[in-house]
């Protein structure tokens, strides 16, 4: 049990702080929502009603979609583009999907390789693209959920001004939907650009996200 925890400590740590942050967001979001309800002489809602409402879900979904988009782009673009000196990049000259030997597939598969790595055709294609495939599905799903829940929140606001509600298609063209979307995308893209460049020149001793402290700035893909 202790060994299992130690071997999976990184995932457990991030799942735990994710849940703690989500619960914290639910409590403070609920408090803010009810403050606004009171200001508009409207009834307050229970925590349960709030966390199942579009008001809470849109705030969660708009952040989730941008995180998954970041990873989708990072996984796909790093196949083809490199950054000399970065820990997050392949060395220059290795751009592309690489040979079967380098990827340990087909006759180059190891005895303990995944079964589909030894196969050909659809199964090999699915395994070869499963990481970006699942990430992309979650991105599209959460972005669509942002669209659906964002429309409900926007329409509640429309009705409070005695304006007509918008269809899903109409809401997809509003500046509000794109503002919610782009404000999240830009921060994710900046974060990726930052780690790509910072990892060339800066070090964190012991971290696999950094080169060894004494590694030259020019060496690419080296992790400590």
């Amino acid at each position: 049990m202790r060994r299992h925890l130690r071997d999976n400590a990184l995932t457990i740590f991030f799942l735990a702080i994710f849940l703690a942050a989500l619960v914290g967001q639910a409590f403070v979001g609920h408090s803010q929502f009810n403050d606004e309800q009171i200001a508009h002489r409207a009834p307050t809602v229970s925590l349960g009603s709030y966390v199942t409402s579009s008001a809470f879900l849109v705030d969660v979904m708009e952040n989730w979609q941008s995180e998954y988009l970041q990873f989708v782009l990072f996984i796909v673009v790093t196949v083809w583009l490199v950054q000399r000196g970065s820990t997050e990049s392949k060395p220059p000259g290795q751009q592309g999907t690489e040979s079967d030997e380098e990827q340990k597939i087909g006759e180059h598969a190891q005895p303990d390789s995944p079964a589909w790595a030894k196969a050909r055709g659809a199964r090999l294609f699915l395994l070869s693209n499963s990481l970006v495939g699942v990430m992309a599905l979650i991105w599209v799903g959460t972005w669509f959920a942002q669209l659906v829940t964002g429309r409900v929140v926007h329409n509640a606001e429309q009705l409070s001004h005695h304006e007509a509600p918008l269809s899903l298609w109409e809401y997809a063209g509003t500046s509000e939907f794109w503002n919610r979307t782009l404000q999240n995308w830009q921060s994710e893209f900046l974060a990726v650009a930052s780690i790509l460049v910072f990892s060339i020149y800066l070090r964190q001793r012991g971290s696999p996200q950094s080169k060894p402290v004494g590694e030259p700035h020019r060496s690419t893909g080296a992790e400590g």
């Binding site: 309800q37 409207a42 009834p43 409900v152 929140v153 429309q158 009705l159 001004h161 005695h162 007509a164």
Partner: protein, 133 residues
Amino acid sequence: MLRALAALAAAASLIGCGISDDRAQARAVVERFLDAVRAGDGEAACAQLGESTVRALETQSGQACERVITRLEHEGGAVTRTRVYITSAIVELRGGERAFLDRGPEGWRISAVGCRPQDGPPQAYPMACEAEA
């Protein structure tokens, strides 16, 4: 995984039930209002309005809500569609008029009635209403 999906489906159906209840309640409030106006029962009609709507109507007309509400120039008609978004609702009537409602401490109450689009697209401009908060 299957249990998580079942829980998600149950939660989604509960949310669906909640919205469906709200829709029925909002529609019933508008129907009670229209019935009361048709019957000349000002007291019953005003009971379907929100507090701030009653106040605005009385301030504008200089008369009690019960006296003025049955004399408003609105067409009415059967309810054709009700939509609910969180604590707001819109009810559309056959003649093209709309009523807006908010969910207040006493349940759904009308915030505006006899509303029609005016200058531009109704998604971009507030509608002109016979009575509104």
